[in-house]
Amino acid sequence: MKQLFVFIRKEFYHVFRDRRTLLILFGLPLVQILLFGYALTSEVKNIALVVTNASNDVLGQQLTNQLQASAFFKVQEQQLSPTEIERAFKKGHIKAALIIPSGFGSDFIKARHATLQVLTDGSEPNISKTVLQYVTAIVQDFQRAQQPATSVAFTITPELRMLYNEEGNGSINYVPGVLALILMIVCTALTSVAVVREKETGTMEILLVSPFKPVMVLVAKAIPFLILSLVNFAFILLLAVYILNVPIAGSLFLLFMITLLFIATSLSFGLLISNATNSQQVALLISMMGLMLPTIIFTGFIFPLENMPLPFQWISNLVPAKWYYAAVKSVMLKGLGFAYVWKEMGILCVMTILLLTITVNRFKIRFT
């Protein structure tokens, strides 16, 4: 028991004396949370919109003002010719333009029909779609405001609500994803590298030619990263709640249990990789390419799984992070209880047992 304790203490020395490990442990969560929370946001705000108003009448000016009042657009009023607008698009100076034709006001009042032209940069489809939606909505509002008398006619107004995320906070989706990603990196990559390093420096030979039980080497390697991962988990939750304003709707205890299970799965993966490799580079490469990439692609927090071809959807079932992500979303964002996540927890449990069995069976007490 004392041997194990001293071994674990040695592992902590390794971690706290290696700047790169520390950076991955605590720098990475911070950077990723901030990146996903602020920089990589899918919300569209402050888009430069050029308004070319050829009508010079009151109605045109009122519409421009209304657009200006919204938070979505930064309106620049410029009188540009069609060729000038095209050139500005080509140079990438503007992403969207609204052209109000001459006689806009008189057409609207007299002919009861007026047209507007909205141009967007289609090479960025997400922004284009969002701009079109926003402009359409604003124009409809504007139209209704102009003719209050006729609004008594039958109209259907859809009332939209985004459940579990009323404000459309984009970071809400990323937090469970970042959790899955960080825990996967810390547990799998760092653990496998820690074991393989002993092989590389030759200390594994001494560890084997000693009374210390060989399998306990794995235990001693896993425990420090288990503890550090839990610290990381708390750190990410604090960042999420206090910096990104993502609420924790469900039970914190259940969230903790799910995370503990996922950490166990990832640690088993790391130990399995360390069994199969003899160099730190290979271990790192397998962890990164073999696990991080699938975690990003097949978890569903960046690319929706539903849109993938069926074979990819089947593959995604093998990625532990997918189940963790789903469970965390249910508990953290929707506030659901154990009854809704037992399936995910069960799958993670089976994966862990399977991986650990293979690892322990394949652990070599000799060289070949």
Partner: protein
């Protein structure tokens, strides 16, 4: 083939023969790369035994088989009376092992390394401090320095301390002097002599022939075969013919000429000299070689009859051994 029945009753001899290897063979990559063939040797209690051979001779493979880290393809081995396959756990408890690289934790301090290995072997630094005292005193001023920042000589001393901390009966040192400066190497061999005084059996490997004389007995090993096992003096003395040292203004020219001469059995560079043996030595070799060298217009010719060293014997054994088997590998 002579069958030594000592091996069939190992326990009777294990008390005074802590290391027994009996016809050990091992190959890698599914038998395509032979590493050891039919290696047998015995190390007596309290002996300082050297395994001498070049890189790739199979020294590390033999060490790993004896320290239970590798399984031999055939043959048996016993360490401290325990079978290396069946009783590997007991062996791992009793031996001290220092692998080829100084296997220390580079980011742990001297003190932390020592404490870690002491605890790992279920003991404490204080318990057997007497044994390592002389060695550890030398690195004690640096006890708070990280092992990675030590010089090669100090790393070697620390690694030895770590291997000794549990007072092993048998000590395995795999090339402990490789990559260490000359002074540290000499000090290291003196330390081994002291450890021997304490009754520890030591098996040490080295590629440096000049270190062989420091051992009680040595085994010459090449291409996975033991060439000869004996005391250093007897191995050097077993050189079968007279050996001459030759020198001239143009050493390389002399080497080429002597090799071309049909009277010469072997001729190789040895430091700043050439070592020469003749096919039929009638006792006047010195004069004969001088005469030949001068007909070849060599200047400043010096020829001496010298006492062969272990290295001469090794080269002689290695070349004559290689012939019947071919290069083999």
């Amino acid at each position: 083939m002579k069958r030594n029945n000592v091996y069939t009753h190992p326990d009777a001899v294990s008390a005074d023969t802590p290391i027994i290897a009996d016809r050990i063979s091992k190959s890698y990559n599914k038998g395509t790369v032979p590493a050891l063939s039919d290696v047998s040797l015995e190390v007596k209690k309290g002996e300082l035994f050297g395994l001498i051979g070049p890189d790739g001779a199979g020294k590390t493979t033999l060490f790993r088989i004896l320290t239970t880290l590798l399984l031999a393809d055939s043959g048996q081995a016993r360490v401290s009376g325990y079978d290396v396959v069946q009783n590997f756990k007991q062996i791992r408890r009793t031996v001290g092992y220092m692998p080829g690289k100084f296997s220390l934790y580079q980011d742990l301090t001297v003190q932390e390394n020592l404490t870690f290995f002491a605890t790992l072997f279920g003991t404490s630094v204080a318990a057997h401090y007497e044994l390592i005292k002389d060695i550890y005193e030398q690195i004690k001023p640096f006890s708070d320095r990280r092992a990675g920042k030590l010089s090669g000589g100090m790393k070697q001393k620390l690694a030895l301390c770590c291997a000794l901390i549990h007072k092993p009966e048998v000590l395995f040192l795999d090339e402990p002097t490789t990559g260490v400066d000359v002074v540290s190497r000499r000090e290291f061999w003196e330390m081994l002599q002291q450890l021997k005084q304490q009754g520890i059996t030591i098996l040490v490997s080295t590629p440096y022939m000049e270190e062989a004389v420091r051992c009680d007995r040595i085994a010459l090993i090449q291409n996975g075969r033991i060439l000869q096992v004996d005391t250093p003096a007897r191995i050097a003395g077993a050189f079968p013919v007279k050996l001459y040292a030759a020198k001239a203004a143009s050493i390389y020219g002399l080497l080429k000429d002597l090799r071309a001469w049909n009277q010469v059995e072997s001729c190789y560079a040895f430091g700043e000299w050439l070592h020469v043996t003749l096919r039929q030595d009638t006792g006047n070799g010195t004069a004969l070689i001088r005469e030949y060298a001068e007909t070849r217009a060599h200047k400043q010719v010096i020829i001496q009859c010298i006492a062969p060293t272990i290295e001469d014997r090794f080269i002689q054994l290695a070349t004559s051994n290689a012939l019947p088997n071919g290069s083999g590998h």
